[in-house]
Amino acid sequence: MSGVSTKASQSDGTGFIPEKLCPRFCMNVPSLFHFTFLLREVRTPSWRPWILRKQQFSLPRVPLLQAARKKNSLNLLGLTEAELEEQFVRGDGPGGQATNKTNNCVVLKHIPSGIVVKCHQTRSVEKNRKIAREILQEKVDLFYKGEDSDIFKEKKASEKKKQEKKRRAKENLERKKHFKEMQQLDKK
């Protein structure tokens, strides 16, 4: 899928920070963070740092995965926010109104497997976060399940379809060619 690059950091375990990202990254505080991945519910951890009197700090929810075309029927491993590390190229600084940075790239890492996904497909941070999670979920599923993964099976199926189509098209072409040749012979 264009717009996203992946790096599995099995070799060194720290192959996370891409080229020019600033070292500071923002940990997700998963307190009230709900993110439902397809068929699996995300467990929300019970710990909540930074409780200010009665108020609760909470992170904005990344919008629930919309039922995207084919994804409905796929059974993929669920990811919890606690397993993820997210990074944005925002630099230090106040943020909000005081800055007008256009870099909306999201870098998302699945800590247990070390898989990293970089998404700069859209001009909206929120959408990039969502897409990054979708892609990461697919990669993680593939990583752990290999050939048993629905992603793998789907890819195989579509490849097969493509080849079948090609074969049929080739056959048709040859049939037409043969027909034309026969016509030429008849004329003589």
């Binding site: 923002c26 108020q55 700090f57 992170l59 904005p60 943020g95 909000g96 005081a98 497909q121 929120e126």
Partner: protein
């Protein structure tokens, strides 16, 4: 379609024109008439970059052009040189981001027209114009909105402000249905104070199909831009946009659809003393009134909160985007004004982990 032969000559000429400009010679047909003294600084070595880009002279791909303008921007101290270059080139190629372009587009030579368009846009960026104004558009959640100086450009943090309102509404709906409240589908009425380009208002209308929005701004330019964006998105039937200054005008006009469920705002909240250190992109092009919140950044926040009780339904909410220093300050201020019957219900962080959004509730008597 790029046709070898004709366009080749055109491209050659273009490069020549560009060369003259880059070497600091008087630009002949540059828009905006940049004077020699203000022109971009480039060494002669820089100017040959375009020609040395690839094996076949005169043929430039998207990647070549991005690299080229990135260098130009860097040399001229333009922040986000790579990003700016990518957005401009992508835009001319009809895409939103560089990484969303397929490999074929990246290898296809650019036409002379496309190169000229990129140059025109890049010239604006060289003047520190924000990319969003250069392109004349930007995205906010699922919407593409027209952008025009000096109307305030929506920041990415604000996308989460919209999500908070949507969630609160669905939580209220669930609560009502579980309590078996009868009645028709609710039509939440939302008031946005300081609508700017209409990002928040129009996003809310899209995400909450039953909602109605009253959007106000004290600047006519903002009112016009919001109206334009509303029309482009065919949302004009569900939004009332008023040229109205909440600091000075009577709030009665804001009750045209009755008491309000949500007041939402991204009010100017920059501390006045911080204004001078903002980037040139902001200081030169955006409406500073949309940013300057006075000495403690709270001037407009206080105005909104003072106004809220007379506008909100019981247990209605105010959602504000603020500076990370404000949550405590707002809490104290509300406690010092108990007559308002407003309580700070929750503080939410932005995607960078900074306290950014306040959820204030009106207490029922």
């Amino acid at each position: 379609m790029w046709k070898p032969g004709t366009d080749f000559t055109t491209m050659r000429c273009l490069t020549h024109l560009l060369l003259r400009r880059l070497l600091g010679l008087s630009p002949q047909c540059m828009p905006g008439g940049l004077s020699q003294s203000k022109g971009p600084i480039l060494s002669p070595k820089q100017s040959s970059l375009r020609q040395s880009c690839n094996a076949r002279p005169g043929l430039v791909t998207a990647t070549d052009v991005v690299n080229y303008w990135q260098k130009v921007f860097e040399t001229n101290g333009i922040p986000e040189a790579r990003e700016s270059s990518e957005y401009i080139v992508s835009f001319v190629l009809g895409a939103k981001t560089f990484q969303s372009l397929n490999s074929k587009s990246l290898r296809t030579p650019l036409t002379a027209v496309q190169q000229e368009q990129i140059q025109q846009l890049s010239n604006k960026r060289l003047e520190r114009m924000p990319v969003q104004y250069v392109l004349g558009e930007w995205d906010f959640q699922d919407l593409t909105l027209k952008m025009r100086p000096p109307v305030f450009i929506p920041r990415p943090e604000t996308e989460d402000l919209v999500s908070l309102v949507v969630e609160e509404e669905s939580r209220k709906c669930e609560k009502n249905s579980s309590l078996c409240f009868p009645g028709p589908v609710p039509h939440p009425v939302i008031l946005e104070i300081g609508c700017g380009s209409g990002a928040i208002a129009l996003s809310l209308l899209c995400k909450m199909p039953q909602s109605r929005v009253i959007a106000v701004d004290k600047e006519k330019a903002a009112v016009d831009l919001t109206a334009e964006n509303a029309h482009r998105l065919q949302l004009q039937e569900r939004i009332h946009i008023l040229h109205h200054d909440v600091s000075y005008s009577s709030a009665k006009q804001l009750l045209l659809w009755g008491p309000i469920d949500f007041i939402v705002s991204n009010p100017p909240y920059v501390f006045h003393e911080d204004m001078a250190s903002l980037d040139a992109e902001i200081l030169r092009y955006e409406d500073l009134d949309a940013l300057d919140g006075g000495d403690d950044g709270m001037r407009v926040i206080k105005t909104i909160l003072a106004l809220a009780p007379s506008l909100l339904k019981d247990s209605g909410s105010v959602f504000l985007e603020v500076d990370p220093r404000h949550p405590d300050m707002v809490d104290k201020w509300l406690q010092a004004h108990p007559n308002l019957l407003l309580i700070l219900h929750a503080i939410h962080k932005d995607f960078c982990g900074k306290p950014r959004f306040l959820h204030i509730q009106k207490q029922s008597r």
